[in-house]
Every structure is written in C-alpha cells, then in structure tokens.
C-alpha cells in the first residue's frame, strides 16, 4: 500500500519555523554562551601554555584544541558540555507540541508526520552546526591573532574534520533527546532521563567498563607481576568503553588533532616496530584510524533518529 504525495511536503516550512524558534530562544542563547565562553577561556590558557612550552611545532594550531590549563582542554570541555547543550535543545521537541496542544492541529494540515519529525531534527542539527562553526571560527581566529602564525592547509583540514565529528557527536545526543521527547509525554521526565544517561556515560561507564572487563577476562597474574596490563582485559575494557559516545568522540578527536597518534587505543610493541617516534602521520592515515569511530558516531545518530521515527509514527495523536 503506497501513500499518496511526498513525505517531505512541508519539511522546509517546519525546518524554517523550528530553526527560528531555536535560534531566537533564550535557552539556546544561554547554553551557547556558556559553551563558547568556557571554550574561549580554555583556548586562552592553551595559548598561554603553548607560548611558554612549545619551541617549534608544525601543528601548533591544533594544539589549541587539545591542550589547556592542567588536564582541561577544548576537546574535554566539548565532550562534557555538548551533550548538555544538545539535550537542552531537544528534550521538548515532540512532547512540547503535545503539551501546547498544537500537535493535532499541525498534523491536520496536509503534511505527513515524517516532515514534522525530520524538519525538527534537521533544524536542531543546523542550530548545533551554527554554534559549532562559530566556536571553530573563534578558536582559529584567536589562534591566528595570538600566536601570529597562519594555519597550514592540513591544520585546517584536520580541524574541519574534527568539526564534522563534533557535530556527529552532538547529533547523537540531540537524537537521543528527541527520542526521549517522543517516548515521554512529560518534558521534565525527558530532560531528567537525558541528563541521567549523560551522567552515566561521562562518570560511571568508564569505571564500570573496567570492572566488567576484569570480570569477563580476569587479569593474568604473570602480567601483573611485571606491572603490565593483561592484553585480554585491556581489549575488553577498550571495547566496552567504546559503547559510550564520549569515548568514541575523544578517541577520534585526539587522533585527528594530534597527528602523531598511531592508534586510538592501546599501542602494542609490535605496532611500533619500524615507526619513527614523534613523526606525524599523513591525514589519510589518521583518517583510516578514526574511520570506525566516525562511522559509529554517525550511525548512532541514524539509529536513534530512526528509533524515534518508528515510535512517533505509531503514536496516538491524542494526549
């Protein structure tokens, strides 16, 4: 049975309207300003750091993203704050329409539900993209002004890839927030569930992954005597940790932004045979290393969106 008409009819209208709402909302202003403010502060300290410690580095601009005061860096800050921004943006996308009682009125217009959901989703992604591009321009601009060195082509390429990946990471959390807003009719429940999942992945999962790995593959005494980690345990730890989008994001970010990174996880001795230590990898090689992480993040966006789509299509219009 085929439906008549295009599922995209009205998509553009919904997109423009939602985009206007997001961009002009006070919520977005606050979240955006907090993120950009903290990011600028970190970058400022990073520049200070770089001036004092770096003698010569072909990728000095990229260091802006990965260094900062003590262990803080832009990558770390984004990894923690972006989910909050995305959840804050998306937690009431669908249940808000129900609660305002606008849902049935809008759906009685000649559009399919597809257009409503896709329009909202794309508008959210576009809003996040605008924020991230602003941030990227600010960081690169600050770097050029304060370091006084023009960026090389490869630096720009690497940082743009990083930008794309950051967007995918934010997209995962936005899609999650939207899914929660479809499943839960109450916006408060959706935001609490979203923040709960965020908290779990940021703070609890890394430790839980260690514990789980040690249970699945108990550490070997022979390695422990030598003060080494058991390879099987290590592999399990890495695999479990990579279930968290945060882990994927930070691995991919570091590999892209620190060109001499040779592996996203643990490096084994045989992998180092013949390697020139400290020599940067070409961009294509770095890309090959982070390919799985990038694909996983983008796939995550799709899976969560499709999940929400399926639930939304079957949902009753009536409250």
């Amino acid at each position: 049975m085929r439906r008549e008409g295009s599922p995209w009819q009205g998509l553009n209208t919904v997109f423009v309207k939602e985009m206007t709402d997001y961009v002009s909302s006070g919520r977005m202003l606050v979240l955006g300003l907090i993120t950009i403010g903290i990011a600028c502060l970190v970058v400022y300290f990073a520049i200070d750091n770089i001036r004092q410690t770096t003698a010569e580095d072909p990728f000095v601009l990229l260091k802006l993203f990965t260094t900062g005061p003590s262990i803080l860096s832009l990558v770390l800050i984004l990894g923690i704050l972006l989910p909050v921004v995305a959840i804050g943006l998306g937690f009431d996308t669908v249940n808000g329409e129900h609660n305002r009682r606008t849902m049935s009125r809008i759906l009685s217009q000649p559009i399919y539900r597809d257009a409503l959901l896709a329009g909202k989703f794309l508008a959210g992604l576009a809003t996040l993209a605008i924020n991230l591009i602003c941030l990227w321009l600010l960081v690169v601009g600050l770097g050029i002004i304060l370091l006084g060195q023009p960026p090389s082509g490869e630096e720009i390429a690497r940082s743009l890839l990083f930008l794309l990946m950051t967007l995918a990471y934010a997209g995962v959390w936005f899609a999650l927030a939207m899914l929660l807003s479809i499943v839960s009719r109450s916006a408060a429940t959706a935001v609490l569930a979203g923040l709960g999942i965020w908290f779990f992945f940021i703070l609890i999962w890394p430790f839980l992954a260690n514990g789980l790995a040690a249970t699945i593959a108990p550490p070997d005494l022979r390695y422990e005597m030598l003060g080494l980690q058991t390879p099987a345990t290590l592999q399990w730890t890495e695999m479990l940790r990579r279930l968290s989008p945060n882990q994927l994001f930070s691995e991919a970010a570091v590999t892209l932004l620190v060109p001499d990174t040779r592996a996203a996880g643990a490096v084994y001795l045989d992998q180092l045979r013949g390697a020139v230590m400290g020599a940067p990898l070409p961009l294509s090689e770095s890309l090959a290393i982070v390919w799985p992480q990038m694909v996983a993040l983008i796939a995550g966006v799709f899976v969560l969106f499709v999940g929400g789509y399926v639930v939304f299509q079957r949902q009753e219009v009536r409250a």
């Binding site: 049975m1 919904v14 009682r101 000649p110 009536r318």
Partner: protein, 320 residues
C-alpha cells in the same frame, strides 16, 4: 439531497481489546451541520481522527470527499479543516504568525497568504488583536483563531471537536453564530459536543453516541417523535365555563391532555396545535390567557432515551 461529503460504513476502532468505536454508519450531506453527541469517552473524537487519517481504522470504510483518509490523507487534509478539542497555538507567536505557519503548511502561495490571513481574522473578528501574541488570548479567542485557520484554508468540510466547551455563555453564542456563518458560506460542518442545547440550536441532524455506537440518528424533530412519542407540548391557560378537556381531545393530532392546574392544560401532539387550541377556547367562550409551545428539547430526548435504556436493562436483569 446531493451526494454526501462524508460516508462511514461499519467504522470500527479497537485499542487492543477495548473497542472505542463499533460499527458506526453515517452520512454527512453537503452544506449541513451534523452533530456528534454523547458523553465523554463515547468515541466521538476517535471517529473524527479516523476521518482525518490521524489514527488507523480497525475495520469498515470511510470516505471523505470521495477520498480514503487512510491512503490519501493529504488529499483529505487539504480540503478538510479541523479544530481540535482545546486547540493550542504557539504562545510566543502572534495570531498572524501562527496562521502564517499553518498557511505555509497548507501550501497557500506566498502572494495570497497575507490577504487570506487578513480575511480570515476579520471573519472571526480578531483583526484588532492580530499582532498580539497568542499568550494573551482568552479561551474563546483561541477557539476563534482555530476557526480562522479553517476559514483561511477554504475548507469544504469543517470538523469541530467540542468547539464550545469551556466558553462563557456570551462567547458560546458568538461562536455558534460563526459556525452558522460558515454553513451559509457553503461549508459542511461536523461538530461534536456534549452540550445538548447548543447542538440543538445549530445542528440540522445529530447522531447520538453511546459506548462507541450510534444509538440514535436524525433531525431533532425526528428523534423527538421517535423517543418522546410526540414532538410538541402546548400549554394553554384559559378559563371557560364549558369543559375544555373534551374539546382539546377532539383536535386532530393531540394524543394526550393533562390538567396541570386549576385552569391550565398541557396538550401533547405530533405537530404545533396552537391555532386549533386557541380556536377551541374561543369557541367555548373562554378567556385565553396564555398559549405556549415547548420545542422538543434534545435534552429531554437524551434523558428519556437513556432512562428508558437503563430501565430496560434493569428489567432484563430482574427477569433473569
């Protein structure tokens, strides 16, 4: 009668095991106001949602303007306007902006939008608050804005779900007038309500819902004959030397005469028998002081029907 604009045959909706609407048949003619009546939860809103293709149909068929809402929802929704129960708008947008968004979704060309929005707001008398945010609107104004959306759409059918619930009497009267205007403009109107007197005021025909079924359908006068036995109750107050009882009985069409006071009579008839009653009093050389007729009230029909039904069920239970 021209071809009906909405035709439902054996329309059924089940949620799991619970049945919301059970084998409902009805037609809505072009240019009439059709009322769906019944207590809350009787299946009125579900029926409406099925007409718009907003919820799946379990069994049966429904045709709206000769389209199938399940397979061609866009064709149906382009020509049908819907005002949901307690309609909502985007509070932070103005009335104009809210309508402009709907207009874009409807696919109204940009050149026509402003004029059609202006016209629609004028029709529901909201022109002076057009630039105000909907946040400041009262319940009645929101309902009218919802009606403006239907006017702007130039819908051929307007489906109104509980349009007057929660409105004050003044706003209700105004809103009902607007519904009449809509019908005069050639729009077929289907409205659901549990406010019987209001429905009676505007509807040409009604369908009475109970527990997912239509238990009664027809014009109010038809229903009155069906349920109350006779449609008209005429009250006469007159004193006369002669015996009026017998004279009233002699009027054709009168089925009962009751004496309710010293010189007051209540006549039950199948038509308006006021002229004959007056003539009877005058012929008996009496002084006619008052002559009035009660329109058959939907409320009376409704209460009587449900009372009869509950009695019937109790009777069955007793028999068992």
């Amino acid at each position: 009668m021209t071809a009906p604009v909405i035709t439902a045959r054996g329309l059924t909706k089940r949620y799991g095991k619970a049945t919301a609407v059970e084998a409902v048949d009805f037609d809505v003619a072009k240019g009439e106001i059709f009322g769906l009546l019944g207590p809350n939860g009787a299946g009125k809103t579900t029926t409406i949602l099925m007409m718009l293709g907003l919820t799946d149909i379990t069994a049966g068929t429904i045709r709206v303007l000769d389209h199938d809402p399940v397979r061609e929802p866009l064709a149906v929704k382009r020509r049908v306007g819907y005002l949901p129960d307690q309609v909502g708008f985007y509070d932070n947008l103005t009335a104009i902006d809210n309508l402009a968004y709907s207009a874009r979704l409807m696919g109204i060309p940009a050149a026509e939008r402003a004029s059609r929005i202006g016209e629609a707001l004028a029709r529901v008398r909201l022109s002076d608050v057009a630039e105000k945010r909907v946040k400041t609107f009262s319940r009645g104004m929101r309902q009218r804005l919802g009606l403006a959306e239907i006017v702007m759409k130039r819908a051929e059918i307007a489906i109104l779900d509980e349009p007057t619930s929660g409105l004050d009497p003044q706003a209700t009267v105004e809103f009902l007038e607007m519904i009449e205007e809509l019908r005069r403009a050639g729009v077929s109107v289907l409205l659901s309500s549990h406010m019987l007197d209001q429905v009676q005021r505007v509807c040409n025909r009604v369908a009475l819902f109970q527990a997912g079924r239509i238990v009664l359908m027809g014009s109010v006068a038809e229903l009155a004959r069906q349920v109350l036995g006779a449609g008209f109750v005429v009250e006469v107050e007159a004193d006369a030397a002669a015996d009026l009882d017998a004279r009233f009985h002699a009027i054709p069409g009168v089925s009962a005469v009751a004496r309710v006071g010293a010189d007051r009579y209540r006549l039950t008839a199948d038509r308006d028998v006021r002229p004959e009653a007056a003539r009877a009093v005058v012929a008996a050389d009496g002084a006619l002081r008052r002559l009035s007729v009660d329109d058959p009230s939907l409320e009376a029909i409704y209460t009587r029907f449900f009372r009869r039904q509950t009695n019937g069920e109790e009777g069955k239970r007793d028999a068992a």
